[in-house]
Symmetry: C2
Subunit: 352 residues, 2 copies
């Protein structure tokens, strides 16, 4: 590995990414599931275009400013779901502008958010589509019961400036059955109230190959699947060969026989553990553990001699690909060991 790149650098193998996109799109096509990838993993309009060209119906963003960057970056992006409770005058104004440019939808899990959206969109020509977020066990956002979902659906349907778009959930790993049970019951209650439920959207990469098990869902929102990472390899849903994103690092010190230090720390790999031990996997070196990160240093240890020398370059699969994308201003697009181009990560750091 002698890529002519200053390190640390984030590399994305474009052929692996294409394969990963294809694999889930094929599954979804077979099962009649619409695919709406979450762009948090790549934050790149170019990658969204690959996903749309493969058959995705639109994209998912988590924040308003992410959606702005993506829509600005590609004319192919015409349908955006923001899976977030949006509050505040400035964000609502941005949302109103976005709603003029693309088919836009957002979610809400409480009356305060719905009323805020309605107050803003009542004065617009086009209504805003709002889905109800449901808690199917991840215990983050989302209404706790199908009855609450039905109550909010009614509130949205009655609210000036809003259009009820359906149901959304981000399930826990292994939550497919709970998605089916919760969303079916919520849909039944809402339809019994005379309201259409055009979309039921679920998400997550770990569950994606069993998405068809929740037949009530009309679409799925995988994010990490385009790159994969160490957490997904640990779960058995990916292999090192289909990890598209790696961090290229240089050994800058070998201060002891069993310890080496690389120039990638938490400012690139991040401290995300996702239940794992250690901060990434050194490709080709199963014997090495990345046992400690400071901001600019990663510490590699092995039980025996580490057999690395200063200047050696390593490729590391991070625990969590999505957060690594957010740490750097650009990614190096590679095919194998060849650098094809450098893409600025236009939706990086968009927290509003």
């Amino acid at each position: 590995m002698t890529l002519p790149i200053e390190t640390p650098a984030v590399l994305v193998d474009i052929e692996i990414a294409r394969r990963n996109i294809r694999a889930f799109q094929d599954y979804a096509n077979r099962h009649g599931i619409r695919v709406r990838p979450h762009i948090k993993t790549h934050k790149l309009p170019q990658m969204a275009e690959l996903q749309l060209e493969a058959g995705a119906i639109g994209i998912t963003c988590q924040k308003v400013t992410e959606a702005e960057a993506m829509v600005e970056g590609s004319a192919q992006i015409k349908d955006v779901l923001i899976t977030y409770n949006i509050l505040g005058a400035e964000k609502l104004a941005r949302l109103a502008e976005l709603n003029k440019r693309v088919i836009l939808s957002v979610v809400a899990d409480n009356p305060t958010v719905i009323d805020g959206l309605s107050a803003r969109f009542a004065r617009e020509n086009e209504p805003l589509t709002v889905l109800v977020e449901c808690n199917t066990g991840a215990d983050r956002c989302g209404v706790a019961t199908p009855a609450e979902a039905a109550s909010l659906a009614r509130r949205i349907a009655d609210a000036p400036g809003l259009h009820f778009g359906g149901l959304m959930t981000y399930p826990p790993v292994g939550g497919t059955e709970r998605v089916q049970a919760f969303m079916s019951e919520a849909k039944r209650l809402i339809e019994a109230d005379g309201i259409d439920v055009p979309t039921v959207t679920s998400g997550g990469t770990p569950n994606m190959m069993e998405a068809a098990g929740a037949s009530v869902a009309t679409e799925h929102r995988p994010g990490t699947y385009i790159y994969n990472d160490r957490s997904l390899v640990a779960r058995g849903v990916a292999t090192w060969d289909n990890c598209a994103l790696t961090v290229l690092a240089t050994v800058v010190s070998v201060p002891a026989e069993n310890r080496a230090i690389i120039d990638a720390g938490s400012k690139v790999l991040t401290s995300d553990l996702l239940g794992l031990s250690g901060y990434g996997h050194v490709l080709g070196r199963d014997d090495i553990r990345i046992d400690q990160l400071s901001e600019e240093h990663g510490r590699l240890v092995s039980d025996g001699p580490i057999s690395l020398k200063v200047g050696d370059k390593l490729r590391i699969v991070p625990n969590h690909a999505c957060v690594v994308t957010n740490m750097v201003d650009a990614v190096h697009i590679v095919e194998g060991n060849e650098v094809k181009s450098i893409w600025p990560i236009v939706a990086r750091g968009r927290v509003l």
Copy 2:
């Protein structure tokens, strides 16, 4: 708290920062220790100027591109130490340019790095000052013994284009005695070899108020002290009242009686734990734990009713201030509840 700021946002109370700078500078002045603050915590030329105006002799950076951003950002920055093993043609070329603009020094803990620096600087007019990094127990970089330090000092002194600048260490917490023992012995050996040791530099905020205990050290490089954070409060070296950096967040969901969700996740607070449980401290709410982060959501839980409503704003002291600075493009400079200005974080994301 009704700051007219879109959330999540990183706030820095400038008066608290000034007080923190003053407190350590006073201690250092009393004990004859030079102060060379590490800018990794703030990444802001304006904050470096406050530190220099208070009496700091220069700054510390971790990466070449950080140093470039800081020097570019303030004409007051004239003396920079980069505490890193620097390798690679592009970084060495950048270093040579920096060495023409400011008093520059770097560190090395191995012959490969020293030889690389010498090969590049042999063709420059001005030599580069190089200190030897010593491992006093943090087990990251650094030579393992005073004898190795002396051997590298000799190598630097003999290398074309280089000037031996002294000894550097980043000690573990509570490592003051080890600093004194290791550095004294290394200095003795180097001087016995006929080489001057002009600087012995140690670092770290947790140890800084006992820095005088390592009397061999001529300077100290604290970083986090300017802002403080939850990790330093937990260690008993700061209080909430002298935490200058906070994250302002909005409650976006209260999906259960004892659970609330805020719009700040790991993309702002980061997953750094530093040995703590939970991801930050909600000011004024000792009863709340931030028990889980995803990228854009923080989950707050309490044993009893959480008593928050959607739209409430909270200020959070993060576990680790330095890494939060790296997550956003700008900080809001405040005094109490009043916003004074917005400063772009010019050295953010500089990983090369």
